[in-house]
């Protein structure tokens, strides 16, 4: 379970996050939405321990993200908004390298890599050099990297960007499978697409969680409408 309490962050004098609090239970897929500049990416970077917040607390299953960062990161998978990969490696070598880096035991790495590749539909590209892949394919490789070791918390920034139609269609299946072992947080602007697989929307507005909309309570279409309504006025 991921718990976020009173998170605050500002770039210089500009306050981006003021008081963000929420929690994500195992099996939940939470979609964080908001206008451009609302602080979605910053929030996920904080959750990925890439940025230290000005205040607040982040914990996964009781492990504080900033007090015990290594233990926290061991339970976390992160897909960046613009994921970077080592272009000179093959896909398989890159995933092997990442698995080794995350401390996975040698004997399990092959199985983990194969499973993640199958889940992200990159099995046929395993021997290709990363530099020969398209942007969308690279994103799939980065996704495979993020969920390869079955993290307790999966952070996917702008998840649907760059994915083709078929992958978007199957994104729900991928995330549902990931949700079996993770608390999943997804950000993005494709609210309608996200509504197909998220269980809850969190609308970030003016540095706080303005609204939490559970799809099981209001249904997908109503949730999308409510999200759009909640986002109105942002940035004015």
């Amino acid at each position: 379970m991921l718990e976020v309490r009173n998170l605050a962050f500002s770039y210089g004098r500009r306050s981006v996050l003021r008081d963000v609090s929420f929690s994500v239970s195992p099996g939940e897929i939470v979609g964080i939405v908001g206008a451009n500049g609302a602080g979605k990416t910053t929030l996920l970077r904080i959750l990925a321990t890439l940025v230290y917040p000005d205040g607040g607390r982040v914990a996964c299953n009781g492990v504080d993200a900033f007090a015990r960062p290594l233990r926290y990161r061991k339970q976390m998978g992160y897909l960046a908004e613009n994921p970077a990969l080592y272009e000179d490696m093959t896909v398989k070598k890159y995933l092997d390298y990442r698995a080794h880096l995350k401390g996975e035991a040698d004997k399990r790495i092959r199985r983990r890599v194969t499973e993640a590749a199958a889940l992200c539909r990159i099995s046929s590209f395993m021997r290709s050099a990363v530099r020969h892949l398209s942007a969308g394919m690279k994103r799939r490789v980065a996704l495979a990297d993020a969920l390869m070791l079955r993290p307790r918390v999966l952070l996917l920034d702008d998840f649907l960007a760059g994915l083709d139609y078929s992958m978007r269609e199957s994104a729900g299946a991928v995330l549902s499978e990931a949700a079996a072992f993770s608390s999943v947080i997804v950000t993005g602007h494709e609210i309608a697409d996200m509504a197909k697989f998220v269980t809850r929307f969190l609308v970030i507005k003016d540095g706080v969680v303005a609204k939490s909309i559970s799809l099981s309570e209001v249904g997908a279409e109503a949730a999308v409408a409510e999200v759009r309504k909640a986002m109105e006025g942002v940035g004015k």
Partner: protein
């Protein structure tokens, strides 16, 4: 597998697949090869070894290579966003930093090994004799010194790369801070603080490598290098972790990080100062007996008694360490030979007040070596940069007090003078003769007859003709069993050239043919081996500038018994003799007390001038010393032409050019082609 090992493997793999790395390694090989070639030529005749020259050539370019290999080690990760991917992994920043620095270090070490292999290989083709003195321990120590320095360069480059997002900026910063700035500071000190030159000595990092090659292991400097390496790695990991502090409140954390960095710098500098203050030195027995010449062995083994050798020099003086090393080697040799017993003492003029006062009362100066045997003592002033020769001469003087003999240098006809310190002067060789116990005096033939006590008359490169009176005085001197050394002027005219034919010497007006040349104008002439002067110098060569040749076809060997003139070539190629000795009276019976007349003529008047002796190593000096010893009636002094530890490559001009081209061009290009091909095929397979 630890995260550091994974990162190391990744870094090495990345470099292995990069044309950039292949180019960097080839450039490094070319630059260090060119410098080695230059140093090899300059070091001809000095007490340098292949290992020292190679290590000091490589150490100059190691910082640049490290800067190039490590310039994008972090900056590229930051630019592409890969740093985020890495930092979101459950790995400490310091493990990434260590792994990456280790990767750069691995490539650096590979380049150094490659450089050593191709240099040694190239040397084995062109000058195998230069490799004969290589000792494994010496090589291992100097390589260890290079690696420790390389470790610092890699760590510092990693730290600087973490500070920039542009690889070019990172490279510039590294190149300036690691390669250019230290040498610029040192050169500035050399240029603007001449009084401090002795205190600063050689560039410390070059001296460090050469010290290690000679078996001196300065623990203090190693501690400094290692602490700076750890500091660099620490700063790099702090810089990487500080990337996370970009929020407003995080400025407080940033200040804490900055404080940690400053404190760590202070700590490292403190450790460095302490390490240098208590500079412990471990000396390994690399320089052993065979660094001493046979002459030294002869002096030590054929005498007995106890000699106290005192170094009267501050321990902080840069000359102290090599001096102490040589003295310890000398003691070991003396113990080994079982002749003279040597006792070593080290007296610091500032700290050892009592012994210093005793030495000062005996006339010893600060910066000297005092040799004492019973009541006799001899001082060697270190300001003259003495070598082994001086030590042998001093020991000889101590053990066998010499009867001083006068050498008269004829003046007044444009001769080279023993008191002239220019490159055309003879002050160096005159000083050498003075150390051997001779007294150098000037002789004016116009003023009167040659004095009775003149053991040897020297006419060095006379340009003007002698007057009839002067020729008559020389002739009279020779007839009485005089000894004459004639160093011929360029033209073969002037001086006593008109007198020489009657004594069996005929200078011919033609150049020598068939001799090798080093610079184009000089000739390398082998010494012939059937005379007391030259027999000990068998295999050695003298180098002369456009020498005159003596006509052997017109040699007069006439008379019988005491009147017989015997001509013996000393040096030459085929029929062209450039140095010869004639002797009259040697055929007399041993029961007749006839002092034979001896004349030695050499075809180059300046072959032992200061300029000639400073330029290169050859047997010129020993050849002259042997001539002087023979003419003045003492035994031949030089037992061998070149001391055993002196570097002699035997490369002439063409071989040097070919050697440089192969080492600095052909082999690096081959390495570039091979490495690039590997990269190309690895990429193509994918």
């Amino acid at each position: 597998m630890s995260a550091s090992a994974v990162t190391f493997k990744r870094t090495i793999g990345r470099m292995r697949n990069s044309f950039q790395t292949a180019l960097a390694i080839a450039s490094f090989l070319a630059a260090s090869g060119a410098l080695f070639s230059y140093k090899l030529v300059s070091a001809e005749g000095t007490a340098s070894t292949f290992v020292e020259l190679w290590a000091s050539s490589v150490s100059v370019f190691l910082p640049l290579l490290a800067a190039f290999l490590g310039m994008d080690i972090w900056s590229e990760e930051r630019r592409t966003g890969m740093a985020d991917v890495l930092l979101s992994s459950p790995v400490r920043e310091r493990e990434f930093v260590f792994g990456k620095a280790l990767g750069v270090f691995g490539s650096l070490a590979f380049s150094a090994v490659l450089s050593c292999v191709i240099t040694a290989e190239c040397l084995s083709w062109y000058a195998p004799v230069a490799l004969s003195e290589v000792r494994i321990l010496s090589f291992a120590l100097s390589f260890a010194a290079l690696l420790v320095q390389g470790g610092l360069w890699c760590a510092a480059t990693t730290a600087l790369s973490a500070a920039f997002t542009s690889a070019a900026s990172s490279f510039c910063a590294s190149a300036i801070l690691l390669a250019a700035l230290p040498r610029a500071i040192w050169l500035s000190l050399m240029a603007f603080a001449p009084s401090g030159r002795m205190a600063f000595g050689r560039f410390p990092l070059d001296a460090h490598v050469e010290d290690c090659a000679a078996g001196v292991f300065p623990i203090g400097l190693f501690v400094v290098l290692i602490s700076l390496t750890i500091l660099s790695l620490f700063l790099a990991s702090k810089k990487i972790s500080s990337l996370k502090y970009c929020g407003r409140v995080s400025r407080k954390h940033l200040r804490e990080v900055a404080l940690e960095m400053v404190l760590s710098c202070v700590f490292a500098v403190g450790i460095s100062i302490l390490a240098l203050r208590f500079d412990f030195i471990v000396e390994l027995p690399i320089s052993s007996h065979d660094r001493f010449s046979p002459r030294m062995r002869q002096v030590l083994s054929e005498s007995s008694g106890k000699v106290i050798v005192t170094s009267f020099l501050s321990r902080r003086d840069p000359r102290f360490r090599p001096l102490a090393r040589n003295l310890r080697s000398l003691k070991r040799l003396a113990d080994h030979l079982g002749g003279i017993a040597i006792e070593l003492q080290y007296v610091d003029p500032k700290w050892d007040i009592g012994p210093a006062g005793r030495l000062a009362s005996k006339g010893a100066r600060d910066g000297s070596i005092m040799l004492e045997m019973g009541r006799r003592s001899v001082m060697i002033d270190l300001a003259d940069s003495p070598g082994e020769r001086d030590l042998v001469s001093a020991l000889r003087r101590l053990i066998v007090p010499l009867q001083r003999k006068d050498i008269r240098w004829v003046a007044g006809h444009g001769e080279l003078r023993p008191d002239s310190y220019g490159s055309w002067g003879m002050s160096d060789i005159a000083r050498e003769l003075a150390r051997e116990g001779y007294r150098n005096l000037v002789l004016d033939l116009a003023a009167g007859d040659v004095p009775q006590e003149c053991a040897l008359m020297v006419i060095a490169g006379a340009k003007d003709d002698f007057s009839r009176v002067e020729l008559g005085r020389v002739n009279e001197y020779l007839k009485k069993g005089g000894r004459l050394l004639v160093l011929m002027g360029r033209t073969g005219q002037g001086g006593v050239s008109s007198l020489l034919p009657s004594w069996g010497m005929r200078p011919a007006a033609r150049p020598i043919t068939g001799a090798k040349t080093l610079s184009g104008t000089d000739v390398v002439v082998p010494i012939l081996a059937d005379h007391p002067i030259s027999s000990a110098l068998t295999g050695s060569r003298i180098v002369l500038e456009s020498p005159l040749v003596f006509d052997t076809a017109a040699v007069v060997e006439s008379g019988t018994g005491a009147d017989r003139i015997e001509f013996t070539p000393l040096a030459g190629v085929g029929e062209d003799v450039v140095a010869a000795v004639v002797e009259r009276g040697s055929g007399a019976g041993s029961d007749l007390a006839i002092r034979p007349t001896r004349i030695v003529a050499v075809g180059d008047g300046a072959f032992v001038s200061n300029g000639a002796l400073a330029v290169r190593s050859c047997a010129n000096r020993d050849f002259l010393l042997n001539i002087v010893a023979y003419l003045s009636g003492t035994d031949a002094m030089g037992a061998s032409g070149v001391e055993p530890h002196v570097l002699v490559t035997g490369l002439d001009r063409n071989s040097r050019f070919a050697f440089t081209m192969v080492l600095a061009l052909a082999l690096p290009l081959s390495v570039l082609v091979v490495l690039s091909s590997i990269v190309y095929f690895r990429r193509r397979i994918r």
